[in-house]
Every structure is written in structure tokens, then in C-alpha cells.
Point group: C3
Chain length 195, copies 3
Amino acid sequence: MSDRPSIVLIGGGGHCHSVLDVIEQENRFHILGIIDDNLPLDHKILGYSVIGADADIPKFNGESVYFLITVGHIKSYSIRLKLAKLLEKHKYKLASVISPRAYVSSHARIGRGTVVMHNAFVNANVEIGDHCIINTHAGIEHDAVIGDFCHISTGAIVNGNCIIEKGCFLGSNSTISNGKNIVRDSIIGAGTFYK
Amino acid sequence: MSDRPSIVLIGGGGHCHSVLDVIEQENRFHILGIIDDNLPLDHKILGYSVIGADADIPKFNGESVYFLITVGHIKSYSIRLKLAKLLEKHKYKLASVISPRAYVSSHARIGRGTVVMHNAFVNANVEIGDHCIINTHAGIEHDAVIGDFCHISTGAIVNGNCIIEKGCFLGSNSTISNGKNIVRDSIIGAGTFYK
Amino acid sequence: MSDRPSIVLIGGGGHCHSVLDVIEQENRFHILGIIDDNLPLDHKILGYSVIGADADIPKFNGESVYFLITVGHIKSYSIRLKLAKLLEKHKYKLASVISPRAYVSSHARIGRGTVVMHNAFVNANVEIGDHCIINTHAGIEHDAVIGDFCHISTGAIVNGNCIIEKGCFLGSNSTISNGKNIVRDSIIGAGTFYK
């Protein structure tokens, strides 16, 4: 049906809408459908079908399809973590999705299962882990390190040389001062300046 | 003189400067000139002429020209509302202007007389009313609804699933938390986080 | 070796990393190397060599090379000022660097030795002085004036008609209200709204 690899998204809420938009613009994947426990089969999300529930995840042919977790992460990432373990158990391939509207430096590294949304930027020498959300308009400055399962929300800015450890949630439009270390599983309030 | 439709801007202040820049970049309209009550005829604004005052608005041929209100909206939109009623009375055509530097999802809807300025983003499933200003670097996240006559100022972020009712002013770099409802004619201070 | 003019960067820290990324994307200069007092000769920064210390600055052939100060400016710009005087004394040519990912209005003017980083915007009728840093994602709105040696940090927004005098530091994600005058050598805290 398509020369492009297929992708299945897990989670059909609002974050999924944004990610669908990015995948369409990136035009690198054929969107097979969405897995969601709370939506009926064949329910349409921006024109794409719900094709199963979490219990169906083990039934896929792991050779021919990529997966991406599109459950949102507001404060807690426990559902995303559980799903990631399930995908890992089945040795499924994880997609990384980068909006063509984002800027990712050629000197940066992006993990597996991570999305970089429209208008975000990832500057020189940055390292981003697996299963992260670098949301719309967010920015990661030079030499920063972002651990696995972090959500850098819309418009948030991580300044140069910061280390954001695993599982952090940085609220919308928050700002992290140069060179700070945000410890594991921290929640930084929206609109705040962390210094 | 030009195959492109003509446009007349109403209001020659600072917001007009920004909009002129966007219209030039969009390159979709021939700029006929600017209507302003406080500037002399033939006064130049970025090279374009003041061609009349508000009293001249009824004299145009509504078949051949589009209109856009470029009076700013800081806190109050009463002048913009009055002008909109005047344009409506004459059944004039309203331009919508979208910067080629902005991102507007193909899953979003934009009203008439609305401008989306440089570097702004309008994400999937968003609905924006008439006569709105989505200013430079502002962002509207997935599934949000913006009523008529709203000004989302520079760098402000409306997060997912918000409803911003008619006539709201969201100050520069303000942030609206996910799923909030901002009631009609609200003023949200610059730099604040509304939760 | 290259038809493009050569450029030497002075200062090899984090800000230099970001600037190197911009110069690469702009693709207008051949990067000759970096001058740094604290790094050994031939040390590599994103693949480019340290080629000398400040004491070597007078030894260049000023006809064939451009210079850009890439020492950062957090709060104080005294080192940048001292280097600028040295470059001036030798009548060296100053590079201005504008990311192709930034937006600079054709109605704006940018000084010498100034950098406009990725995703920044400089709107209509803006005037920016010499040796400024308009950092990633920062925005300067219509009709604003930015003096020499200002650093508008990541994500900061200067709204319309502001005057930012010489040597100001506007912290990350700070916001300046419309029409304000920020006096010489001011420091505006990150994340704050100045009204």
C-alpha cells in the first residue's frame, strides 16, 4: 500500500492529535492506526482508525511496523513507562518522529520513541533520551542532556549545559537557567523560572 | 496593475507595521493603502500610502477589494468591533492573512479577518474565530477553540483543549493551562500562567 | 580552499557551540578556527580547531578574515566590550551572522558583530546595534530599538516600540511590555515580565 514503513500509535487523546499532525508533515511513515483502551474500534481520529486496545499490542508483526507511544505525559509518565516495557518485551521497533518544522542540530542526538514537535529546537551538542516529548515551540539549548521519559512542554526552554534527569515534566513556558541539574522525576510548574 | 486581489488596511499604527510585513511575505495581496483617522493623506508607512480616513470606508467598491482591520488590540477591542460592524454593514470582503512563516495545521480552521503572524503556530483540530490576532510566536495547541475578536499576544501559549471566548486579550508570553475555559472579554496579564 | 570569506570566532564556550551551528547552517563563511585563552591549541570544538589565544589576535591579516565575538554574555558584557575594542583597534572586519531559520524583516536593520540565532525573529522597522546576541527563539517586535552589546536571551520577547539601551541583558523567556525604555546596562531577570 505504501513504500513507507508503517507506524502504530498507542494512545488516542489530545497529544495523539498533535503527533498525527507531525507525522503527516514528516511524511516518513504510513499511519496504520491507533491503539486505545477507551475508544471503540474504527473510531476516527483526524481520519485515522482505532485498530485495537492495549491487549492487542502483542498481536502485531514486529518486523513490519514501528510503534510510538502517544499517551500524553502531564506530571506522571507511569502509563508511558508501562507501555514502553511492553514494547520492549516484544522487541518492537520504536519510531522517533521529528517535525520538519522543528530544528534539530546535526550535532544533537535524539533517542528512540522520542518526538520533536513543530517549531521546537534542539541545539548543538544536545543529547535527548528515549521516549521523550519535546513539545511544540519548546527549546533545548547547547550542550544540555535530557534523560529518558522527559516531557518538555509547549514553549518551555532548557538553557545551555542543563541536565534534566529521567522522567521529568517541565511545564508549559517554564524556563531552566543555564547549567542546572533537575533531578529524576521532578515536576517544574508551568510558567516558572527554575534557577 | 496586479493579478492579485487588492487589500486595504484599517489602522496605521505599530500592529499595522507587523501585518504589512506578513502580507508582503505572504505575497497574496496587492496592498492598496491604509485608512487612518490620525495620519495625513499620503503619509507613508513602510512605503505604503495612507489613502483615507474612516469616513472614506463607505466609498470603496466592495467587489474589487478586501479589507483587514489593523488597529491593535491591547486590552480593549472596541474600536476593532466598531470597524468590523461597519465593514459588515457594507458587505465588504474580509481578508484572512497567514504568514508563510507560521504553521497552521491542515486540521485547523481560521476565521475571516483573522491574522496569523510570523512564527505563530496553530495546531491540529484548532478552531479560530473572526477578527482575531494570533501574534508573532504565539501558539494554539491541539483542539483549542478561540472565539471572535481575541488577541493572543506575542509568545502567548494556549494549551490543548482550551476554550477562549470572544474578545479575550492574552498578554505577551502568557500561558493557559490545558483544558481551561477563559470567559468572554477576559484580560490575562502578560507573562502569567493561568491554571 | 573555499570561495567563502573566512571567519574566526573569539571564545570557545557554550555560546560558541550555538553560533557554530548557526554559521554552518548559514553556510556563508569558511570557519578558520576559534581563539580561546583557556583551551589548548588544536582542541576541537564541534570539529573546529582552537587556533590561538587572545594574544594572537593582532597577528591576523585583516583583509582576508572576518571576526565574531562568541564569548557569552550572562549579565556582564565587559569581556565582549574589551574584545570589541581590540578588534576595532586593528580595524578588523566584523561578521554579522543570521540564521536561515530566523526571521529578519526586510524592514529591519542589524548591526555589525551581531548574531541572530535559530528561530529568532526581528520584525518590521526594528533597529539592532552592534555586537548583540539575539538568541534562539527570542523575538523583537515592530519598531523596537536595541542598543549595542545587548543580549536578548533565549525565548525573551521585546514587544513593539521598546527601546533597549546599550549593554542590557534580558534573561531567558523574559518579556518587555510595549513601548518601554530599558536603560543602559540593565539586567532583566529570566522569566519576568517588565511593565
